[in-house]
Amino acid sequence: MTGPIPGTGVDLAESRPAARTRSPLRRHGLRRAGLVGWLFILPALAFYAVFVLRPILVTFQYSLYTWDGIGPSTWAGFGNYVKVFTDPGLFASILNAVKLIVFFSAIPVVLGLAIASTIRRIATSRLALVARTVIFLPQVIPLVAAGIAWSWLLSSTGVVNQVLTYLGLGGITRAWLGDFSTALPAVGVIGAWVLLGLCTLLLLAGMSKIDPALFEAARLDGAGPMREFLSIVLPSLRQEIAVCVTVTVIAALASFDIVYISTQGGPGNATMVPGLEIYYLAFSERRVGVASALAVVLMLLVIAVALPIQRLTRDRSS
């Protein structure tokens, strides 16, 4: 397998014998590579600088001004940031994103672990191979399509209510995405559906790398499935779990497509998330400064979450 194995993260340390770099040929090659190497990097760096680095800096710049996108802008200092944290509507969008982590991240990872350790033994059966393809489908289709399909499933006449009625729970049926108290969890369910398959397969791949002798030894020592899970599976899967958590938490914090399609942030602002709020603020309400301040907060939030998780696995595994 080529490419980074999930969870390896950023590996700056290069393990090469020091002696080789001292050979005259290598030194010659290195010096030549200095200039030529930069020519190889330049195109990638140019695209990155123009379409990512510059916009990041400009977002920060915009966030310090009050601007409607057309007329002149006025200096606002950190006023926009104060608004992000004091305006109840804006801050609620950040809180909603944090709440979505439960659905986008906790459920797929915990459920994924449970499923993967149950099907570990039959991972090579024909059924499992078919399942591998099927449970990957949500990763392949546009999130927009997932949003449309689930909006229909969760509607007042949808399948979810049909099943509930069949089970004798007709009393709790409702338009799940239109109800103030259930809209956010309903959006969360869509996210959980999208991410569950990915987490399961990632964790399953990790489990297949565990030495089978470990399990045999544990069984001989009289360990039950639970004990086996806690002492063998969980510690061995640290990296895979870290990847699952990172990917899913980012998906929760930066959610946009699913919410845009299924609720547009409603009812009221019950499902408003930062990504959608930025879009509305910048392109409907024309409050570019506030939108940019929220964007900066969102970017920092994602880095603040992603970095420690990567660090954690890095330190312990090395």
Partner: protein, 274 residues
């Protein structure tokens, strides 16, 4: 032995359940799409008489032919160029070990987790000032930049593991760096490059935010962006919406089923980006 067998059966049951939950939304879309246009069919129910013509109708009103062309053009704009320049950069950072590579690499890594919403506002004004708003370039050029951190990260990981001797013997044979790259390293990197191609294709095809912000005309968007517009226009006609959704997700589904093994491997490996 008995425990193992019982476990296997619970495992099978779980798998079937998991597959059923995964397939349920697709099934619901499908049966709903067969109901008479404009009706509100209840949940999962097979229509008295399946209206297959809904698909033809949706194909027509969604202008699928043009959408397919548009998405294909955008993918062709993004993927090949991204592959070439990311492979070059990954080669320089991972194999040539150019001086100052670590600084560049860290700069790229910082972009790995960037949420696109974070920079969409300045991107809009930048693309407008470049005069590219409402053209496919408005999606293509920023996407190349936005995918670059992952692409470089991915290709570097491949080149870091390439043995030094390979390049040394090629150099002794008189090859310059350019020839070394194209004749020796690119052919060897093909597995990594093709996996990256799959991921970039998928992410481009399914890109939604850039499409709805930077391009007004649904016919110049990606499939995903067009589906958003389709929902806005036909959202009240549920069977038609379902038929249109199925048509619009069909191409990725088809390509996935053809290349499924590569897809699953690539996506699992690439999930660091997610």
């Amino acid at each position: 032995m008995i425990i193992a067998r019982r476990e296997a059966w619970t495992g099978r049951l779980l798998l079937v359940l998991l597959m059923a939950i995964t397939l349920l939304p697709f099934l619901s879309l499908f049966v709903t799409a067969l109901h008479p246009s404009g009706t509100y069919p209840p949940g999962l129910s097979w229509p008295g008489e399946p209206h297959w013509e809904n698909f033809a109708h949706a194909f027509q009103v969604a202008r699928m032919g043009e959408l397919l062309k548009s998405s294909t053009l955008i993918v062709l704009g993004v993927v090949p160029l991204s592959l070439v320049i990311a492979t070059m950069a990954g080669f320089a950072i991972g194999h040539l070990r150019t001086a100052g590579r670590n600084v560049v690499f860290i700069a790229f890594v910082l972009g790995l987790t960037l949420p696109f919403e974070g920079i969409i506002t300045p991107l809009y004004y930048q693309v407008r000032d470049m005069g590219l708003l409402n053209t496919r370039w408005a999606i293509i050029l920023p996407l190349i930049g936005l995918f670059m951190p992952f692409s470089v990260f991915w290709m570097r990981a491949h080149f870091v593991n390439m043995p030094e001797e390979l390049s040394e013997s090629a150099r002794i044979d008189g090859a310059n760096v350019w020839q070394l790259f194209w004749r020796v390293h690119v052919p060897l990197a093909m597995p990594a490059i093709s996996s990256l191609a799959i991921l970039l294709f998928l992410w481009t095809w399914n890109q939604f935010l850039l499409a709805i912000v930077l391009v007004d005309d649904p016919l110049k968007r990606t499939m995903s962006g067009a589906l958003g517009a389709f929902q806005g226009q036909w959202g009240t006609d549920i069977p038609l919406l379902c038929a249109g959704s199925l048509l619009i997700l069909a191409p990725t589904l088809l390509i996935f089923l053809i290349f499924q093994r590569r897809f699953v491997t690539a996506l699992l490996q690439g999930s660091l980006k997610g």
